[in-house]
């Protein structure tokens, strides 16, 4: 009895992407949908051998891929005319500087065939490896994942999908989310000011590699310094929160999260004087300063962070024996660099999670008092959480600065902290895989879907709706007020609220988390002590 509903659900969700993008995305999404279907069916399969399990999953894989194809077809023949783009618009295949024009129909045919085949293949493979012993399965999964991650960027570049910018942004935020996951997910400390660490990492790296204060150190050195400065900042900003309980801790971190960008925005006339003797030693104006013992910046107040103008240009990574502009306009080197950073971070975090400090984090998350009585020092443990969490935002910040080649203070505001929090919560607190998935979903929606929806909606309005609407107010409303990108705040807000109400343990939770969070449902009305007992 083959139940096709999971395949249909996965396919439908994936079809949403091809519905918006069409074209070559059918191949990639078809593959991914097939893989997820295979994973799902493989895990639930009752068969014994990998071969049998795999075979069981082929049809569902085809179904899912089929849905994806359907989405793409609908895009091609329903959406494109509705948004005023003729179907026959052509796509390019890009090989470096040369472009090869291809007829859309041709592309569609290839994509459908490839998408379906790859989908079925992926489904079969992912399902079949579920039948293997844990170790082998893990290894195979990792290999497959690595292969995909290596091939995808080349595919994307050749087919000119124009996803790379968004993908890299997703990766940066995944790195941030992995860091925040340590603080919120592992140690249970709600940090609402995580953007501050991102800013600190970015500004550190930026200042050490830009004309702002005339330092131009190597990126590969600077990234480590940024991480180190990040962890020190984590200690500094975490220290005051140590004795505070949950919501107060959150508010204090929010306070810091607001203070840090203000600091960076306004350190544009820095003069340091000893308060009592009034001796100036940094940023001293030789004419105005009475007591001048200037050590640095002796022509006048120092413009440390360039304020709103931002720090730019920021130096790029240089790899010996490669062209200097390798990390130039091309996306690929950046993609691989951040991928390496992410993999490295996952490796580190995993090691920490499985070591004593990881267990200590879990312990203080569950019950701080009990943990301290078992010999775990809550102060050190919490500080470690903050420091480690901030380290990864140091990496992310350094990468970000170099990637954009500029840093502006307005980037690091509260919404960034909340978006990263969204990812961690959507994915499942304390679960790295969940966090990555959450990151892809949230950031993918923000950077890929919303803009694409905006473009399509605009086209739809212009081509289909407006010609039929004459009332000027309504026309203005439709063109101006309905912009999907302007609804991103609502999207993030809804994710948070809905997740908290419906599934606070996240999409990929651990079993204990789910039990812990749903125990409160029935414990209503219990006297305080007994409710506490029931909730644990």
């Amino acid at each position: 009895m083959l139940k096709l509903r999971p395949a249909l659900t996965i396919g439908l969700a994936a079809a949403f992407v091809t519905f918006l993008f069409g074209g070559w995305s059918i191949v990639v999404i078809g593959l991914l949908a097939g893989a997820m279907t295979g994973l799902n069916y493989g895990q639930r399969s009752l068969k014994r051998t990998p071969r049998e399990i795999g075979q069981e999953a082929i049809v569902p894989g085809l179904v899912a891929a089929g849905m994806v194809v359907l989405g793409g077809v609908v895009f091609s023949y329903v959406v494109t005319p509705a948004v005023g783009k003729p179907l026959a618009y052509s796509l390019f295949l890009k090989f470096g500087k040369t472009a090869v024009r291809m007829d859309y129909f041709f592309v569609l045919m290839i994509s459908i065939v490839a998408g379906v085949l790859l989908g079925a293949l992926a489904s079969w493979y992912m399902a079949s490896i579920q039948g293997l012993p844990e170790h082998t399965r893990r290894a195979r999964l990792i290999i497959v994942l690595v292969v995909f991650l290596l091939i995808f960027p080349f595919f994307e570049q050749i087919t000119n999908m124009q996803w790379m910018a968004a993908v890299i942004t997703v990766q940066i935020f995944i790195l941030l989310a992995l860091g925040l996951n340590i603080v919120v997910g592992y140690a249970g400390l709600l940090d609402l000011g995580y953007a501050a660490f991102f800013a600190i990492g970015a500004y550190t790296a930026g200042l050490l590699n830009s004309p702002q204060i005339d330092i131009s150190w190597n990126f590969w050195l600077v990234i480590w310094i940024a991480a180190a400065v990040g962890s020190v900042a984590g200690l500094a900003l975490g220290a005051p929160t140590l004795r505070l309980r949950g919501d107060y801790l959150a508010i204090v971190t929010l306070g810091f999260g607001e203070i840090v960008p203000v600091v960076f925005r306004n350190l544009i006339t820095v003069t340091l004087r000893e308060p009592i003797t009034r001796i100036c030693f940094v940023g001293c104006d030789p004419v105005k300063e009475v007591r001048n013992a200037c050590l640095y910046a002796c022509t006048g107040p120092l413009d440390l962070t360039a304020g709103e103008k931002g720090i730019n240009p920021i130096g790029r990574p240089l790899i010996p024996f490669t062209p200097e502009n390798l990390f130039g306009a091309n996306y690929l080197p950046w993609y691989f660099l951040i991928l390496v950073l992410i993999l490295f971070s996952i490796f580190l975090i995993r090691r920490m999670h499985q070591s004593r400090i990881g267990r200590a984090w879990m312990a203080i998350r569950e019950d701080e008092l009990a943990a301290s009585q078992m010999g775990i020092d809550p102060v050190k443990t919490k500080l470690m959480a903050f420091a480690m969490g901030a380290t990864f935002s140091g990496f992310a910040g350094a990468f970000y600065g170099s990637y954009i080649s500029a840093i502006f203070p307005g980037v690091f505001d509260f919404s960034v902290s909340v978006i990263v929090l969204c990812m961690v919560i959507l994915g499942g607190l304390g679960n790295m895989v969940g966090v990555i998935i959450g990151g892809i979903l949230i950031m993918g929606t923000d950077r890929l879907f919303l803009p694409q929806m905006a473009t399509l909606l605009k086209g739809f309005m212009t081509a289909t709706v407006l010609p039929n609407v004459s009332h000027p107010a309504l026309r203005d409303f439709l063109t101006f007020s309905l912009d999907p990108i302007q609804f991103r705040l609502m999207l993030f807000g809804l994710v948070l609220v809905i997740m908290m109400i419906v599934r606070p343990e996240g999409l990929v939770p651990s079993a204990e988390r789910r039990a812990e969070l749903h125990a409160g449902d029935e414990a209503a009305g219990a006297p305080p002590l007994e409710a506490e007992v029931a909730a644990h």
């Binding site: 409160g520 029935e522 414990a523 009305g525 006297p527 007994e530 007992v533 029931a534 909730a535």
Partner: protein, 235 residues
């Protein structure tokens, strides 16, 4: 008359009350004794509507209270001096008592009952404008009971009135409870201090890990060997 039939109450997955059945007739003073964690407070909280039983019924003079929300139960005639007193610390004695009569609308009756409370607890009258949090333990207990009386209840639930009080105060409080009973108030008394409880009650129930182990006239319970060993500390 208050009746519980086969009441099962859960805290999440913890089965706190496992089929409690008891009755309190008009004018009686019934006691529910048992050690810590037996479920005595849970029973009172269930009656009061603070927690809803999963199975079983609670009726007051035939009216089904089982699904009635907590704030309506008081107006049906059940009021409580809860475990830990739970008086409002930043409100004055007078305001606390006024809160007790919150569900009532008869201004004259409320006034009369406040006078009555002051007669029974003259100390409260002395401290009428003092904030509840500044009262001593014994005074707070009096305030909690006075507050419960202000609801003019048909059944008065008392949860561990002796808790944290010195022996002299305990005697005082129990004397007052007896007096209240003598004046006609129906009382369900939950107590850890089994000796005092059984000395003023007419009937009693012994609660152990959520079930009623023993029941009967107070005198009989006083003489019961297990009761004497476990709850009266005699060998």
């Amino acid at each position: 008359m208050l009746e519980l039939k086969d009441v099962h109450t859960y805290y999440g997955n913890i089965h706190a009350l496992k089929g409690i059945s008891l009755t309190v007739d008009d004018g009686e003073i019934v006691t529910l004794i048992g050690s810590n964690g037996a479920g005595k407070t849970t029973t009172l909280r269930t009656i009061q509507g603070l927690i809803r039983p999963r199975h079983g019924t609670i009726t007051l003079n035939g009216e089904d209270l089982t699904k009635v929300p907590a704030h309506e139960i008081t107006s049906k005639g059940v009021s409580q001096s809860p475990e830990g007193r739970l008086i409002f610390p930043r409100m004055t004695v007078k305001e606390n008592l006024e809160m007790g009569a919150f569900a009532r609308k008869d201004k004259d009756g409320i006034k009369r009952d406040m006078e009555r409370v002051f007669t029974v607890f003259p100390r409260l009258k002395e401290r009428i404008s003092q904030k509840g949090g500044t009262l001593s333990g014994g005074e707070q207990q009096m305030l909690a009971m006075g507050r419960a009386l202000m609801a003019n209840p048909r059944v008065l639930l008392l949860d561990e009135p002796s808790m944290g009080l010195s022996p002299i105060l305990v005697e005082q409080i129990f004397k007052i409870i007896s007096e209240l009973h003598a004046q006609g108030t129906t009382i369900l008394l939950v107590e850890q201090n089994a000796r005092m409880a059984l000395s003023i009650a007419s009937r009693g129930y012994v609660l152990q890990t959520g079930e009623i182990r023993l029941q009967g006239p107070a005198a009989r319970l006083r003489d019961d060997e297990d009761v004497r060993k476990t709850y009266l500390g005699e060998h």
